[in-house]
Amino acid sequence: MWNRIRTLIIKELRILLRDKKTRIIIMVPPIMQLFLFTFACTLEVKNISLGILNYDFGYESRELIRRFEYSPYFKKITFLKSLKEQQDFLDSQKGIITLTIPNDFSRCIGNGDQTKIQLLTDGRKSSSSQIASGYASSIISTYLQPENAIQTEPMRVRNWFNPNLDYRYFTLPSLVGILCMIMGIMIPALSIAREREFNTYDQILVSPLSTLELLIGKTVPSLIIGLFQATLMICAAVFIFRIPFTGNLFLFYLSIIIFMTSVIGIGLFISSLCRTQQQAILGVFVVCVPAVLLSGYATPVENMPQCFQYLSTVDPLRFFLVISRGIFLKSMTFSNIMENLIPIIGIAFFTLGFAGWFFKKKLD
């Protein structure tokens, strides 16, 4: 039995790694995607383009504008000359926020009177606008604080595990999971469809291979390649992006293996349904996109409607993201890992069992 499984694994690996092109296809995209996601998918709002319509020519407004100029968040400041220009600025999406300073701004402050400032934001980009207006308000309110007021600190916020709130701390460990999942579904999904396309599937089915042997023989090669890619990505995260790896590496690999097994089961299941590789790729797409959306990578699971929260419990990525972030950033404890690993084990049994049942249905 082991001999047959070994033969099958060697064959799968040979086919996957047969030439330089395929080898590059397996190695380069995950790393490329890792860079792409990390740099392109920033969740922070930085480099905001701000429009200022200033009716006031006094000292106070110049001083306020200088505060904006020195802020790290606002990069490009455009001075607007009329209401019309302000309208254009937002309409043509040159920026998402404008600041209007009234003509009596300096005078009111000088007199110690109340004054008003208007912030206009682009609601089409609701979350960025909100963040930008938050930054702007905090600059304005600090400026308006009386100079002689006692600097008190009623509250000090400290961010655990990610003291500088670097968004990469959040995205990179998640990406390791997401990219592993995509590969872990894609490789096995294509493998059986490819055998069907090239008529080799029948040849395998008439051989004495049993369902279990076939299942193992198809799972292990994807697992090996998945682990290799995961290693590449972990190295990139730690050595290139300098994400701290605080947890236990052995436990992390154990979790990856179990997680990969569960998604390979999904891939094999897709594969057993498809006749061609094209169909299989479509199948992968149909599964992967919702799996990422439900995982809590982009939006917290807690914010989803109740029914989607239930649905997300069959998404292995949801649990793995918790483990991945936990091990990377906060040295997650064994019991905490197990809490999230057990659902994945359950899912793995289910998906592999289902794929096996489908193979068997065809075999016997």
Binding site: T7, R14, V206, S207, P208, D364
Partner: protein, 573 residues
């Protein structure tokens, strides 16, 4: 005045590989010209060159006085072309396909109606006008393809292997259709790898390895063999006898035909039993036979094959016994209301070649698949060496060697890696695996190809590889699915030599085929039609049943056609 089609010094190369080598021929209208040759001989290339779909490397082709590469647009309307594959849109209905092709050939609306009616009646497809082309049977698809290529009254009709993968009945109908359509000026170029089909043409072009070996009346070639073709009667062990005789210096070709051996002798001496030496049997008799085109073809190729199968030599002889090795017991397969196989029963003894014959879609593939475990029967059981496939599939399959119809080794692996893989999944390991692979490599002379990727291998080597992968674990039972369809006669003989050798050693063989020559090699066969066994017996028994005044000497093809017709009559009454 030049001929209708004039080909001069035609030469075509693909990336350094010569596909057509210095071919010159002129063809007049009003005839069917057979374009014959094994796979890869250059038939399709020639047809595509004539059609202007490929540009010649050098040389010229002119049709009706106009050069094809210069004036293709003008000539387009007088050429009808039926490609080997993809000629039809499977997602369109029969009538939509016709309309599309009519538009492509600029047939006017009013003319369309007349032509469609004629074509539909002619092809007997009127009932299926609204059916999707993809849902038609193989034979009907070819007929529709032919009808499409006939629209607009072409004067040159190029048919690229219309008979491939089509059962004898449909082939006969296609042939009849083309003949009836033949008007005075139409030239039909009919490409085929079936030599019996070529024999019907008055004029053939024989291509082999990119060269034109012969052009003219096939009778010219067959006449040369008059008095050199004989049947050997009264043979007790025909396989052993054939293998002995093929090694005789005076015998240039031999095949099994039912209980007889068909032998072609060398030119010169008058063949006699004495000449063959001591054959250890006194009841032998030589009876003169009519030469066939295939005999001539084999002679012109001049390659004689040895009667010994080195592949069989590595097998140890199984003790002769009457045990049943393969058994189909009331096999039924239903898809919804449709019964693809209806209570199929048969038994195959050890060391027997059993054939499953039938037209496309008759249920022979379904039966075959149920016997090797690729399909689960709705009812009934299949046994290999007494093991029920349903109960212990993997164990039963260990005894099986399987060769699929289409090439099904891994394209991405090298030849050696394929051998290693198939040896491995059949449980060979370590030293045993190494020696078995070494033996196979030396038997088939695979050495130069070991590290070549399988997709780049020559066709013949591919076929040998497929056979090697099936027999490497020395299976006592061998399943062959249309093993030699589209394979050249020489290779077919070599292939059957190996099979015969292995059968002599006690291997049991189940083969599906619609190649009637192949059926002659079987010890017994079952004719499957509409999911039912309509006849079973030895080839001679079946032939004897069909003997009548009209057919004193029925061929396997005649038997097949008669049996199917009779069965159709029963159904309709």
């Amino acid at each position: 005045m030049s001929a209708f089609v004039e080909i001069r010094h035609l030469h075509k190369e693909f990336q350094g590989h010569t596909a057509i080598n210095d071919l010159s021929v002129s063809l007049e209208g009003g005839q069917i010209v057979g374009l014959v040759g094994p796979d890869g001989a250059g038939k399709t290339t020639l047809i595509r060159l004539i059609n202007g779909l490929l540009k010649p490397t050098s040389g010229s082709i002119s049709i009706d006085g106009a050069d094809i590469s210069a004036e293709r647009k003008k000539l387009k309307d007088i050429i009808g072309y039926m490609p080997q594959k993809f000629g039809l849109y499977e997602d369109l209905t029969v009538i939509e396909n016709l309309r599309l092709h009519a538009k492509l050939h600029n047939v006017s609306e009013s003319e369309q109606k007349i032509q469609f009616k004629k074509m539909l009646e002619f092809t007997d497809l009127t009932r299926f006008t609204e059916r999707l082309a993809g849902a038609l049977s193989g034979g009907m698809k070819q007929k529709l393809g032919l009808a499409c290529s006939l629209l607009g009254h072409p004067r040159l009709l190029l048919l690229d292997e219309p008979g491939v993968g089509v059962d004898p009945i449909s082939r006969q109908e296609l042939w009849r259709m083309v003949n009836e359509l033949l008007r005075d000026d139409v030239l039909v170029l009919w490409s085929t790898s079936y030599l019996d089909e070529a024999e019907l043409c008055k004029n053939v072009l024989l291509l082999n390895e990119s060269k034109l070996l012969f052009s003219g009346d096939p009778k010219e070639l067959t006449q040369k063999l008059d008095g050199r073709v004989y049947f050997l009667k009264g043979v007790s062990d025909r396989r052993q006898m054939l293998s002995r005789l093929l090694d005789h210096p005076n015998v240039i070709d031999g095949v099994i035909q039912g209980s007889l051996l068909r032998l072609v002798f060398k030119e010169g001496e008058m063949p006699s039993l004495k000449m063959l030496g001591d054959l250890g049997n006194d009841d032998l008799e030589l009876v003169s036979a009519t030469p066939r085109f295939e005999d001539a073809f084999m002679e012109i190729l001049g390659s004689k094959i040895s009667g010994h199968s080195v592949l069989a030599n590595r097998l140890s002889e199984l003790p002769k016994s009457e045990t049943i090795t393969v058994r189909a017991q009331g096999l039924v397969k239903r898809y919804g209301n449709f019964t693809a196989a209806d209570h199929i029963d048969f038994e195959i003894k050890q060391g027997e070649i059993f054939g499953l014959l039938g037209p496309n879609g008759a249920g022979k593939s379904t039966t075959f698949k149920m016997l090797c475990g690729l399909l689960k029967p709705t009812e009934g059981n299949a046994f290999i060496k007494g093991i029920d496939l349903k109960k212990n599939g993997p164990k039963a399959r260990q005894h099986l060697g399987y060769m699929a119809q289409k090439f099904s080794q891994y394209d991405g692996l090298s030849l050696l890696q394929n051998l290693q893989f198939f040896a491995g999944i059949y449980g060979l390991k370590g030293k045993e695996l190494k020696t078995e692979i070494e033996t196979i490599v030396s038997i088939f002379h695979f050495e130069p190809y070991l590290n070549m990727e399988t997709e780049k291998l020559p066709l013949g080597i591919k076929q040998c590889l497929a056979l090697s992968c099936a027999v490497m674990h020395k299976p006592p039972v061998l399943f062959l699915d249309e093993p030699t369809s589209g394979v050249a006669p020489v290779m077919r003989r070599e292939f059957w030599n190996h099979i015969n050798g292995m059968v002599s050693k006690g291997t049991t063989v189940l083969v599906t085929t619609h190649f009637m020559d192949e059926a002659e090699y079987c010890d017994r066969m079952a004719m499957i039609y509409r999911g039912k066994t309509i006849a079973m017996g030895t080839p001679d028994e079946l032939k004897r049943k069909m003997q009548d005044e009209e057919h004193p000497n029925p061929s396997m093809s005649d038997v097949f056609i008669r049996l199917v017709e009779e069965s159709d009559m029963e159904v309709s009454t």
